[in-house]
Symmetry: C2
Subunit: 216 residues, 2 copies
DNA sequence: TCTACTTGACTGATCGCTCAGTCAGCCTGC
DNA sequence: GCAGGCTGACTGAGCGATCAGTCAAGTAGA
């Protein structure tokens, strides 16, 4: 009983417990700021167990990104495929929604760690570091290309270059806004809340769609 | 001669040399990943000199942000004031341009370090860490409020909440795109180049303006 | 069914190293 | 001669990683 109560998510494997803890600590402190000791402590395992399951710190980080990005991008791919399956081209709004919604449904919990993975993503996305760009290339470039293709099919007037820019601008908005920094609330004296993902999405989608159409 | 040749920017003070070096190293490795040893080495000073000029690592980081943000935001404030001085409301495009152009003119050199400060900004902007948010509040919230006011004056139909969101979305696009990660080139097979700031700005401004108008 | 052996999960102790920060004292120009 | 700029030598703390060893759960042979 007590042991189960102490465990954050009873029943999950220690392997997953390490990944969960890693997500929280990496998000809060950054790659270098995060220490394996703290991750082990939060996962309630010995530090050496991390090295047993993962070769080193870099591989733990990659495993964490891989797990989350697979969940998000599989969801994205399924939605996008469903949209593009029909004869008629879908609405741009539907495509953009399918790009962002998975990040709030599987990439953003509702607990204290809401936005944790989004912050990691933001740091990876805006980094020129070779390790981060390699991660972006492996786990996010394939789905990016699928969305760029979709944008061109929905807006035939959009050149390839503009489609790429449009996608990257959209991701730029999404990634910074999902990070749940608290800045919207501060700047608006409490009116705007980046903790309310649905409210935010209701603004992001029209903003991004109008921006994309302006490039076409 | 030799000593002067070794110095990166002959004539500048060692104080500034430390700040320049810090900018490059913090941008490349992040706050925790950056080491004072490496910064001292790049600035060609003894490590202890950093502690002579700056109380500690956190204060060095803040001094670096303060120096750059002052240059960028003074430039922004001057442009914005000039735009808002006239009787007639200026074009939205002019306001958005005045928001981004200073970051490429004073925040982004054309050398190897182009985008260095933008990457730092991106990590600060997408962080929920108390230290980073305190920096954002001190150095970027005042100019942010000025721009939010300006947006409402140019687009009277824009509510306060929407103006705040619009500003944050715009910053989200700008900050991720100025970071010069190389991802645009990779995703576009070489067509798009985030090293060409002018070309990028020519797309960002219409994208953002159309997005803002969609919220009004 | 008992015993001997194997395996996979896991741990505490500790390694070599790097970190930010300190301090006594050395130059150099006024 | 002294104040301010600056340095080399040093420290305690914390880092990622390693390693020998524990322990429970099989598996196999008699």
């Amino acid at each position: 009983m007590d042991a189960a109560a102490q465990q954050e998510k009873p029943g999950e494997s220690r392997f997953d417990a390490i990944l969960d803890a890693a997500e929280g600590v990496f998000a809060a402190r950054g790659y270098d700021g995060a220490s394996l000791r703290v991750i082990a402590e939060r996962a309630q395992v010995a530090q050496a167990l991390i090295h047993y399951h993962f070769k080193n710190k870099a591989q733990l980080f990659e495993a964490m990104v891989a797990r989350r990005s697979a969940a998000i991008n599989d969801n994205r791919a399924a939605r996008l495929e469903a949209l593009m399956a029909g004869e008629a081209a879908p609405a741009l709004e539907a495509i953009v929604d399918s790009l962002f919604r998975p990040t709030i449904e599987v990439g953003r919990g509702d607990g204290d760690d809401a936005g944790a993975y989004a912050r990691i993503l933001a740091s990876v996305a805006s980094s020129a570091d070779a390790r981060d760009q390699a991660l972006a290339e492996r786990y996010y470039d394939p789905i990016a290309r699928a969305y760029i293709d979709a944008l061109q099919r929905v807006l035939p007037g959009l050149s390839r270059a503009d489609a790429v820019w449009a996608y990257l601008f959209a991701i730029g908005v999404g990634v910074t806004m999902m990070a749940k920094t608290g800045r919207p609330r501060r700047l608006s004296d409490g009116i705007c809340d980046d903790g309310n993902a649905e409210e935010m999405l209701a603004r992001i989608v029209p903003f991004v769609c109008a921006g994309i159409r302006a490039l076409a």
